[in-house]
Amino acid sequence: MSNSDRAEALLRGDKVDRVPLYHFLLGFCARNVGYTTVDMYNNAEKSFQAQLWTFEQYGIDGGPDYGYASYGGWEFGGEIKMPEGEWQQAPSHVNFPVNTEEDLAALAMPDVKTAGSLPLAMEFSKLQQKHGKPITVTLGGNFSVAGNICPPSTLCRWMLKKPDAAHRILQIASDHILDVVRYWSDTFGAENVIPNLWEPMAANDIISPKQFEKFALPYIKETNEKMLGMGIKHILYHICGEQNANMPLWAQIPMGDPGMVTFGHQVKLSTAIEYFGDSCIILGNVLPALIQTGTPQQVYDASRDCILEAKDAPRGFMLMPGCELPPMSPFFNVYMMKKAIEDFGYYG
């Protein structure tokens, strides 16, 4: 089976020969092929090429993706900074479009054809189409987009003191996500588009399950229902960070048939399967820091443990790190994930 076939086979519900390998790894690709990190975020062509090369080298399944966690600020008129220098691994905020309730009242919906990173993302998706790869568009989950339009601390304060403002900004984030997905669907056909949504800000590292229930759940649920209503078949959700207490709530959210849900190391794969195994492909969750700082043997063992724990998930399992692959990971450690698949990931 060729690399790009495996993920698609799982989405079709077909059998695969072995556990596929999946990664978000823009910064790492830059190092692996000798580009700069900025190239990965502001040059669609180079970003796509570097990923193709790196996927070929490490036997990574699934297609190249474009996106970053701070999505939302730039698109609504804030400023972001592209990564530069030795230590930066992704774009970051310079300022936020919304800081006050007045800003919020005056906030206009962006034109998805021209706003922020979207033209680049569109260029990237056209490359995905041209190369016959799955067409993805990476956005934050509803709560994270809201927390990128205004500072996360503002969103937090509003939830407790000005719930109307919090609801308002979540509604705006939700409408925007739908606008973008609609644009992609119009361009490529809804059945060909897989939205990738990352939700770090709704982690229990930051908000309580009660707050999740009130401010994240209803918006995420409605947005996903509407995307599926448009004809989207599969949604990939990266349920980032500590989300154990949110799991019963996440389980109420439709992800498509099958959906794809990826977890950090904080959520056990067996827990993920319990909540999502019947409806979703499960992806995860080797501790990213271990891949960067552990020994090759530790990475191999951790990968093996993930494979053995989740290999037989009803709708399938894909091995991946618990979040973005740390860009500084030793190359040999990354190879060890594939080696673990070779040794333990085949289906009899």
Binding site: G27, S70, K81, P83, G85, E86, W87, Q88, Q89, S92, H93, P152, S153, C156, R157, M159, L160, K161, N204, D205, I206, I207, S208, Q211, A245, P288, A289, Q292, T293, P326, P327, M328
Partner: protein, 217 residues
């Protein structure tokens, strides 16, 4: 002078209004403390800061999350604003100073902001450099303000690699400065291998650690 009973009531009022993140109530009780002639230092340490300590516990027990913490901090600051002008000269004695910042390349600043609140509550003078702080800036600012402690925060395995470099520039410019580090990917071993003087797992422990480091110095 307020009676002991009244004093206890005011301190509890300050504590509770911080814990319940009642900003206006905190101001009200703080004004009352001033009117009753309570020692401002005592009101801050025994009322507001104690409240923040309780808040730290609630966070560790997962009863409070970041939103609650932020509002508690707002209440704390509002109370401080009322009480600080009434601090007596001797309690004004040169406060301990700390520089805080998230290292270059890293914008995860929520944790660092909570650490800052705890130092503010404990009466430290905090120089907050924000997030994505260039390596050399820590030493430059330390030279300017003479902080005894520098607190570095990193949330990513990539950005944490900047920490040993920062420590080197700090030591090169002032060999007495103490460095405290924290953030999710770090642990005591990594902190030690980077040459830091201390590590804290959460905001509550951070102040304790800093005090320890100063005593060792």
């Amino acid at each position: 002078m307020a009676s002991d009973e009244k004093k206890a009531e005011i301190l509890k009022g300050l504590h509770d209004s911080v814990v319940e993140y009642e900003e206006e109530k905190t101001v009200e009780v703080a004004n009352e403390a001033v009117a009753e002639g309570l020692d401002a230092f005592e009101a801050i340490m025994g009322g507001l800061a104690k409240g923040m300590e309780t808040v730290g516990d609630l966070y560790v027990r997962q009863e409070y999350f970041v939103p609650e913490l932020l509002l508690c901090a707002d209440a704390l600051y509002a109370g401080l604003e009322v009480l600080k002008p009434h601090l007596k000269a001797e309690s004004h004695a040169e406060p301990r100073k700390i520089i805080l910042g998230v290292v270059e390349g890293d914008i995860h600043d929520i944790g660092k902001n909570l650490v800052k609140v705890m130092f503010d509550a404990a009466g430290w003078q905090v120089f907050d450099l924000g997030a994505d702080v260039k390596i050399e800036r820590f030493a430059e600012e330390q030279k300017k303000c003479g902080a005894q402690v520098v607190g570095l925060s990193a949330l990513m395995t990539t950005s944490m690699l900047a920490i040993p470099r920062i420590i080197k520039t700090l030591r090169d410019s002032d060999s007495t400065v103490r460095v405290l580090v924290g953030g999710a990917p770090l642990n005591p071993d990594i902190a030690a291998s980077y040459g830091a003087d201390g590590y804290a797992d959460n905001a509550g422990e951070a102040v304790e650690q800093a005090m320890k480091m100063l005593q060792q110095a």
